[in-house]
């Protein structure tokens, strides 16, 4: 635990992601409204909010899995436009972990991790394999390297998915409800992996309802509702003195003892 106690303040002042007045529409429905968000290098953000509040949409705009209609998004030095060049440049900087893992079923764990470095970064096989093995070791799943995804548990698959994203050496990691599809007993192994990653200074944006995780690693917790950012605060303030009624109601819902 002491290791994580020093996490606070690891963030630099250098902006890694800047979202300025971003709007996103699905036809006549406004999914994101005037999103302004700056994430500094090394900062760890937890995004929460009721379902349909736009939190997944927000992080999916950052790597252009969703197009946005207004405003501007910058990742590192790159302005994310509609052109393939800027999109691919951003995607190489930004790793993503999905709710349903999305491992490629026809490739072994090792092949899953080697594919993008070899094809998108043009690394040689030997180098890609060394990177993959190193990262699989880091998420403590190297012994499963030659298995296929279907042979692993959900928690193991999600750890592989994290390793696979890290193999691209991203500067930012996006997590889209990484533990929501897991059986309860597997949540911890994935969270521990994410906590370790946070401890290494990775810039992270996590959409999650794991408030324990938020308390432990987040520099800022952001609460969204109806496509807007309602409130953002360091976890201590966020959980103990939420300013908005909407936030209090949400915290009441999810923190209620079962």
């Amino acid at each position: 635990m002491t290791k994580h106690a020093v996490l606070a303040g690891a963030a630099t002042t250098e902006p890694m992601i800047v979202m300025a007045a971003v709007e996103k529409w699905y036809g006549g429905f406004r999914a994101l409204a005037d999103i302004n968000l700056t994430v500094r290098r090394g900062e760890r953000i937890v995004l929460c909010g009721p379902s349909g509040s736009g939190k997944s949409t927000l992080i999916r705009c950052i790597n252009h899995l969703e197009a946005y209609q207004k405003g501007e998004i910058r990742v590192g030095g790159t302005r994310l436009g509609d052109d393939g060049r800027s999109i691919e440049a951003v995607r190489r900087e930004v790793g993503m972990v999905f709710q349903h893992f999305n491992l490629f079923p026809h490739m072994t764990v090792l092949e899953n991790c080697m594919l993008a470095p070899m094809r998108a970064l043009k690394l040689g096989r030997r180098e890609a394999e060394a990177t993959a093995r190193g990262l699989l070791e880091r998420v403590r799943i190297l012994e499963q390297a030659d298995k296929y995804p279907a042979q692993l548990s959900g928690g193991q698959q999600q750890r592989v998915a994290i390793a696979r994203a890290l193999c691209m050496r991203p500067s930012v990691m996006l997590f889209d409800e990484p533990t929501s599809a897991l059986d309860p007993e597997m949540v911890k192994e994935v969270l521990d992996t994410m906590i370790a990653l946070a401890g290494e200074g990775m810039t992270m944006i996590c959409v999650t309802h794991e408030m324990g995780f938020a308390r432990q690693v987040a520099d800022r917790v952001i609460f969204m509702a109806e496509g807007s950012i309602v409130e953002e605060a360091p976890p201590d303030t966020f959980f103990t003195q939420p300013r908005h009624e909407r936030t209090r109601k949400f915290l009441g819902e999810i923190l209620r003892p079962h």
């Binding site: 899995l65 393939g84 026809h106 998108a120 998915a161 691209m168």
Partner: protein
Amino acid sequence: MNYVLDFTPVLDGLPDLLVGCLGTLLLALGGMAIAIVIGIGGVVLRDSRYKAVRWAVKGFVELIRNTPFLVQIYFIYFALPLAGMRLDPTPTAILALGINGGAYAIEIIRGGVQSISRGQVEAGLALGLHKGLVFRLIVLKPALRAVFPSLASQFILLTLTTSVASAISAFELTSVAQRIESESFRSFEVFGTITLLYLGISWLMMSFFSTISARFFSYPVK
């Protein structure tokens, strides 16, 4: 009505019949190779950003699937020379079989591609792979696996359809049989024999497909 069976002409012609079987296999494998290329290419073009291309693929599939193969093979055989391309009967037959099988393959493979979850594509894109690579490396194999049984039975059908190529006297089993029959008038014996030979060819194809399936599509799924 005392019909006396006489297999002598069949036995005399057996070497020819077996070579005919090889001709049939050649037509079938050649046709399949073209069909799979048309099938995969057609699926890609079917989702082209250009409307004209999408409609061309749709039109091709409609045309081929709603007209008789015999007419198609005649058309190709007699129309190509008018366009200045003269092909022998056997290459013409392979081309016709490939075009016909390709139209069906487009629809089948398309179903397989649609069965792949959007999340697979997103994972590939998020890893920095461009659309073409995502299709080739991530979508294609699981899609083919999903529809492999349908594809295999379509290709068995293609194998049997090779007999239609006798209409333009391509070299294959049925045309060999027709020659032996016309020389000996032993219709029952000749066509009875090639019926069994076709059955054998189908079985051979089926075991070929299960080998492919075991080799390429045996990865475990949930």
